[in-house]
């Protein structure tokens, strides 16, 4: 067991990668064999994410190192070597937290798809790309190297755009695929340019080494600007959000949820760069305020755009965009005050980070439910639906749970994290909290409209039957996560969110020392 736990970081990347290339081969044996294989890979990946999280959170989120190609996988750099060149994976509370999110969403997405994609073509391609995307997301979250981060970023870009556009017979999916791929490529090139600028100055690519060497020169600031632009684009923050509704809206429903997890991985990259790579070498207060402004724009534009949508998937997609704003707001408030480190700054960080998990669960539930609705009614137009609650009682309840959680209604999980964000941002400036609360209320109005349009109304002829058990189980699992995290937020904040927030807020020295100190 210990050996498995020690090797968990690399296995989390290797197993889905093996799955991605194994699926087309196993797919030759038939659909049953392929689905069993995908299910096994997804379960195995989730199990390793659980093991990793258990060991990292068992050690209160202290960073641990995994060295590839060394004499021992846990051995830091040999003494006398001044520039760290080995491939390393470094996991701390924040990475393990993100790995949990990714595991939850990819597992439920894969199992939902078995039933959802049963009688459609292109399944082999679909599962192969899903596995590749999973491997890329885990890679982004676990790597300790800037260039590897770029490579995994591009892996997720290509796999994500494959998933958006692999149904080449759909007109709009091709348009969305082109748009998203072009913007993802540009964002990746910004990141690569920044990596080049950092390498040119310090001659290293290792995050810990770069962090120890950074001086905060003008070139560093330019590199930070490029990283901020590139990763904010990939995370879908306004004003760089124009790809997000297309991507989430045109991808198959379970994959929209995975794409949200992918955006969150970019957000993780941004936080890692701001807190661990740059830390206090730059003017963090100004940067924090930049994040706060981006966050308010994202929240406001996301919600108001959701308000005017008639397409159910696009509407939920804009809801997903607005939630990215809450995460940015929490962490932005934390960053703005991270010199003085007052208590409410830490609370804001906890709220922003906790919201990543909560958003993944409830937006995942909503996207899965939207898949059920679109499949049952054959339309995405809200004006042509109605009365679904008569025949789909469970789906309507699950959708309502997801919508309430997303809008931050107690006792669901969205409330738990949003409350921390409101409380802390109010201390920094009441205006921030007012915008955040008002937008949540608007979001509730939006989802009440959706619920009314899709589920309520008179009984019609030919209403679709309740969904098969294969789609119901993943949705119920996500709904249980939403409810349990909403009912016992204190437990989860203590166990997993605080170590994650600690890793960003206080963990910079430990992160650097682990790689460089042992030499």
């Amino acid at each position: 067991m210990t050996a498995l736990t020690q090797h968990a970081p690399v296995l989390l990347i290797a197993i889905p990668l093996l799955g991605a290339f194994g699926v087309p081969l196993i797919g030759k044996l038939g659909r049953g064999a392929r689905n069993t294989f995908v299910g096994l890979i997804a379960l195995l990946t989730a199990a390793f994410a659980g093991l990793l999280a258990a060991s990292v959170f068992g050690a209160a989120g202290a960073p641990s190192l995994y060295v590839l190609g060394g004499n021992g996988f846990g051995v830091p750099l040999p003494s006398g070597m001044s520039i760290p060149i080995r491939i390393i994976l470094e996991t701390d509370g924040m990475s393990a937290f993100m790995a949990l999110i990714t595991a939850l969403i990819t597992l439920t997405g894969a199992f939902f798809s078995f039933s959802y994609w049963k009688d459609r073509s292109g399944g082999t391609l679909y599962y192969s790309l899903l596995m590749l995307l999973t491997a890329g997301i885990f890679g982004m979250e676990l790597t300790g190297d800037m260039f590897n981060f770029f490579v995994f970023l591009e892996v997720t870009s290509i796999a994500a755009c494959g998933l958006i556009g692999f149904r080449v017979w759909l007109k709009t999916s091709q348009e969305a695929g082109f748009k998203v791929m072009a913007l993802y490529t540009l964002s990746g090139l910004f990141v690569l340019l920044a990596v080049g600028l950092l390498y040119g100055q310090y001659g290293g690519l290792n995050i810990a080494y770069l962090a120890s060497a950074l001086t905060g020169s003008t070139i560093d600031v330019v590199a930070l600007g490029l990283l901020l632009a590139g990763l904010a684009l990939k995370a879908g923050a306004v004003p760089l959000h124009m790809w997000a509704p297309d991507a989430y809206g045109e991808a198959p429903a379970p994959m929209s949820a995975v794409l949200v997890a992918n955006s969150q991985a970019s957000l993780y990259g941004l936080f890692r760069i701001l807190f661990t790579l740059f830390g206090l070498t730059i003017s963090v207060a100004a940067l924090g305020w930049i994040l706060i402004v981006l966050a308010l724009l994202t929240i406001f534009v996301g919600v108001t755009m959701a308000l005017i949508q008639n397409d159910i998937k696009r509407l939920i997609a804009y809801g997903a965009v607005s939630q990215i704003g809450y995460m940015l707001l929490g962490v932005g408030v934390g960053l703005a005050v991270s010199v003085a480190k007052p208590d409410y700054g830490f609370v804001a960080m906890q709220g922003g980070i906790f919201h990543m998990f909560n958003d993944a669960a409830c937006i995942g539930l909503l996207f899965l439910a939207s898949g059920v609705i679109v499949r049952a009614t054959g339309t995405r137009d809200l004006n042509q639906m109605g009365g679904l609650a008569h025949s789909m009682k469970w789906t309507s309840v699950l959708f309502l749970i997801g919508a309430f959680a997303l809008a931050g209604v107690p006792p669901f999980n969205g409330f738990a994290s949003k409350f921390l964000i409101y409380e802390a941002s109010f201390k920094l400036s009441p205006f921030l909290a007012v915008v955040a609360v008002l937008s949540s209320i608007l979001l509730l109005a939006v989802f009440v409209k959706v619920f009314q349009a899709a589920f309520l109304g008179a009984r019609r002829d030919g209403l679709p039957a309740e969904v098969p058990i294969g789609m119901m189980v993943p949705m119920v699992a996500l709904a249980l996560v939403v409810i349990v995290f909403g009912l016992f937020p204190g437990f989860f904040v203590d166990k997993i969110v605080t170590p994650a927030a600690n890793a960003l807020w206080y963990g910079r020295d430990a992160y650097i020392g682990l790689v460089l100190g042992g030499g």
Partner: protein, 116 residues
């Protein structure tokens, strides 16, 4: 011959041309060319980072003593980046092919089903 900072100037120009093309051209193929130009600029920047005047290839076997070598890491980065660039360009162009099949045009002003 010492070429100084010339490669960096060229790299910056390539990136600038690429971004201009991406922002102001209306044809999908030209957009792909723009993205490709940015990519070439970044690759040139990376290679130029590791260049040493009169340096030799970084291979230790039979290397003449007392000769400066160019840095190997940026070359490895550039190779990786070129491979990734190939994949993204191919994907973009195939999307463009299918867009042309569906919409009958490559003009971005006419490919506008998704908006708002």
């Amino acid at each position: 011959m010492n070429i100084g900072n010339l490669p960096f100037v060229v790299a910056a120009l390539l990136v600038a041309f690429g971004i201009y093309t991406f922002l102001y051209k209306r044809n999908l193929i030209k957009l792909v060319i723009g993205v490709s130009l940015v990519e070439t600029g970044v690759n040139l920047f990376l290679v130029a980072l590791g260049y040493r005047t009169a340096g030799i290839a970084p291979i230790y076997t039979f290397a003449p003593a007392a000769k400066q070598m160019v840095l190997p890491t940026p070359q490895a980065l550039t190779l990786t980046s070129i491979v990734i660039g190939l994949a993204t360009t191919a994907l973009l162009l195939s999307f463009a092919v299918f867009i042309h099949r569906h919409y009958g045009t490559l003009d971005v002003r006419k490919v506008k089903e998704l908006r708002g």
